[in-house]
Symmetry: C2
Subunit: 210 residues, 2 copies
């Protein structure tokens, strides 16, 4: 009767330096009901990586065949290797009632939205630009040149945030994870997620015998 049984697809992106990795870890740790999507890639497996856990490993030909068959929610090519999200894998988890989370970048998020408009797009940001800079600098692992490049990229991304549904400030990891959790819970009641409920109500009300 209700469409609420199907899972929600949430896409989480964020600036490099937004602390996205830590927030996602906290979210999954606190809420076992969420499933993380597994990407496909054409790059070779590295030591310790497991098929279907780390990635679905494909040859270049296999990957390109999947592109031709329109089997990806999104994909991109980085330094000669393909990376993408197989739609079938995601949809199957959602059909089982799992809320699925995709951790991908802005360009991929926009592709997902186009393919599956019911997806909930969340973007993580530090409270302000100075905090972002301080976090990148504080890592101590990147040259000033790389940091400057990331900041320029963040500036570009900021101008495209209209394409997202939510922007969540990561001032504190626990709070930020709970905000995302709340957003996904609310999405279960969105009209676009509850189409089946609305259809059945409309039908029942039309056909009821008074």
């Amino acid at each position: 009767m209700s469409g609420a049984d199907r899972g929600i697809l949430t896409v989480v992106s964020g600036f490099a330096g937004s602390g996205k990795g830590t927030v996602m870890k906290k979210l999954i740790q606190d809420h076992a009901e969420y499933a993380l999507s597994v990407s496909a890639t054409s790059r070779a497996p590295r030591e310790g990586e497991k098929e279907g856990v780390s990635y679905f490993f494909k040859t270049r030909d296999e990957f390109e065949e999947m592109i031709r068959k329109d089997e990806f929610l999104e994909y991109a090519e980085y330094v000669g290797n393909y990376y993408g999200t197989p739609a079938d894998f995601v949809y199957r988890m959602m059909d089982e009632g799992k809320d699925v989370i995709l951790e991908i970048e802005l360009q991929g998020a926009m592709q997902v939205k186009k393919k599956y408009p019911e997806a909930v797009l969340v973007f993580l940001t530090p409270p302000d630009a100075n905090t972002l800079y301080a976090r990148l600098k504080g890592r101590g692992t990147e040259t000033d040149e790389v940091i400057a490049k990331r900041m320029r990229r963040a500036a570009e991304e900021a101008s495209l945030l209209d394409g997202y549904d939510y922007i969540v400030v990561n001032d504190e990891v626990d709070l930020c994870a709970e905000r995302i959790h709340g957003i996904i819970k609310a999405a279960h009641h969105s009209v676009k997620h509850e189409k089946a409920l609305i259809d059945s109500l409309t039908e029942e009300l039309r056909d009821i015998n008074l």
Copy 2:
């Protein structure tokens, strides 16, 4: 820096028999941060009704002058009397950081959405049409004819629910109130509510001195 300080405007509607009144009472009781909007009306005050609490009482001329000046978020005329929501009153509470809740019917909700697209529109429904019928019947206060009329109206409303953002099932009052609370909390992070944050981030990232 953040636009989060401004309140959210939430519109709550529901079928007659959805239990909306009870749910709203529970929501306000549990969460003192919410303010209920006060309507203006051209009907005469009844005994015990207080200006600015029950209603803002206006003469017909005053009300029509307000319509001409476009001072309502929504208004309608019922059996010869005007009822409406003064925009100024609502916006002032929101500017003070209050989340404001408007309890109005579908036609009014659509007017609000047009005037203030950032509003969050929530529609309450019993789990199914039979429950709705049983609740109306169970009140024991209405004739079969009136009940049939309400059911036909519900059928019409159901076909217009696409205009809402959320549809919330009222299976249990406490749960339903918490769902609405969660929806409003999530709305504070929506991109359309956080425009000021996005603008300031974009500006800061563009101007930062590396």
